[in-house]
Amino acid sequence: MKYGYYPGCSLGKSAKPYDDSTKAIADQLGMSFEEIDDWNCCGATEYFSLNKTAAYALVARNLALAAKQDSLTDLVAPCSACYLNLRKTDDYMGKYPKIGDLTNESLAAGGLSYEPGSLRVRHLLDVVVEDIGFESISEKVTNPLTNLWVAPYYGCMVVRPEFGDTDPVDAEYPVTMDHLMETLGATVVDFPLKTHCCGGHMTQISSDTAFELIRQLLHNADESNADVIVTICPMCQLNLDAYQTQVNRHFGTNYKIPILYFTQLIGLAMGIPAKKLGVGKEFVSASAALKKIGLEVEEEPAPAGKRKKDDKSLPMPSGRVEG
């Protein structure tokens, strides 16, 4: 089936592996993604704090562009924050006529308009689980993830708010990704904090708050012996992966849990080469975990760390950053 694709800013760079792996599995699973022409950032959670009318208008430009592109009916977002914003704006424009009017009046200044309800806004996980289904996925599994213990992490924004009448996943204890991982042959651990928040932008504003939330998630996954935490959101991935070292430093802990996207694990189970799936760009190396399923992973160079005391090698001539 053909879907409108709203990648969001993070998938262009910091979450490139999510974009790569999504595209890599799409063909085999019979999904075709058509990117929305000239989409703009959805404003994350920031714009609503400053100016609501502008915030809805910013999101709605994307809805308007998508709705007039090649008779698209479904708009898919892989990022949790993007998904929430698109879905909420579509829902509120219909539910609260005042928001609908103000938003369309704003869009008119750019020659656009959007009729709420003309698109189905969906998260990528929902599309994979509902439209493709476990059965068709299991037929494509050539390299089952046997012995890999995974903690499915849903985060908050995809599972929680009930915008619109169909509610793809349970808000408190969803299991769709759990079943998906089982289908791939992995062992799913019970992960009670699976829908707890990782702190979102708090890593930038109040690291103490964010680090404590990240610590709890890592602890929970570690206690259940997970080899890897699987995510469905670029920001969740970034927070748990890129800040894991700082969290360890902050609390004197030593977690080393790789954070992968669910699309990467689907790809690995379907025998797609790790590199094509962007595996190897994680901060916390996934190679030990992936060895358990018989994979050797080529990694991008690790961040420059402190030179070891007994390191006798000469310093790099230039551009070397001392940690």
């Binding site: 800013c9 262009g12 760079k13 910091s14 979450a15 490139k16 989409w39 703009n40 950032c41 404003g43 994350a44 959670t45 920031e46 609503f48 704090s49 400053l50 100016n51 609501k52 009318t53 502008a54 208008a57 910013l58 430009r61 609260y96 005042k98 103000l102 009046e105 704003s106 869009l107 200044a109 750019g110 020659g111 656009l112 908050c156 924004m157 929680r160 708010p161 009930e162 808000a171 408190e172 928040c197 702190g199 979102g200 932008h201 930038q204 504003i205 109040s206 690291s207 708050t209 890129a242 070292t245 700082q246 760009k281 994680e282 901060f283 991008e300 160079p301 961040p303 420059a304 940690g323």
Partner: protein, 190 residues
């Protein structure tokens, strides 16, 4: 939701918050049950829990509410919103309070509002957000002394090739600017 008899004035703080929030009327029937605070990931670091904040709104503590860090520590996880037995749109109320505080410059700790402004600054100029610019601009203007704490993060992002050096600009940037300008006019007329 029952008709609530009021003295007819809409100048009290609670009514102001309700009017500015879609579906906000239910704030009048808050049970003070504390489910929201108990579910909140940022709860321990907030000046007041969401429940306390709503009691203060009822009592008309306008300045204390708008100056508190509570709305700014809300990370929009919607836990409270889906659990609230009275279906109060708590997350949206937090957005309303943030917007009021920004309008009136009523916040003690400016980190969160300025982070939002830096973020949106890039979006309004380019149509896309720009992580490297954000990280440096925000950290240099806010905590120049602690900028090294950003070090390992930014360096890691660069060596892992996960950070862009230049912002991307959308083609329809002028169209977007016109839309946002009109939206801001409309918002100001509200």
């Amino acid at each position: 939701m029952p008709e609530v008899p009021t003295n007819g004035s809409s100048s009290d703080f609670r009514t102001e918050v309700i009017n500015a929030t879609p579906g906000g009327e239910n704030l009048r029937i808050c049970l003070q049950c504390g489910t929201c605070g108990g579910s909140c990931p940022s709860g321990p670091d907030m000046d007041y829990s969401p429940r306390q904040l709503f009691a203060m709104i009822d009592a008309g503590f306008r300045d204390d509410v708008l100056k508190s860090n509570t709305p700014w520590y809300c990370v929009s996880c919607y836990y409270c919103t889906v659990r609230c037995p009275k279906e109060i749109p708590i997350t949206d109320i937090m957005y309303t309070l943030k917007q009021m505080a920004v309008k009136e410059h009523l916040y003690d700790d400016s980190d969160a509002p300025e982070w939002s402004e830096s973020f949106i600054g890039f979006v309004e100029t380019y149509g896309r957000s720009f992580e490297l610019g954000l990280a440096t601009r925000y950290h240099l203007t806010h905590s120049p002394l602690s900028k090294f704490s950003l070090g390992p993060f930014a360096i890691g992002m660069v060596t892992k090739n996960r950070l862009a050096f230049l912002p991307e600009r959308i083609e329809g940037i002028n169209q977007l600017k016109a839309i946002l300008e009109r939206a801001k006019q409309l918002e100001a007329e509200q």
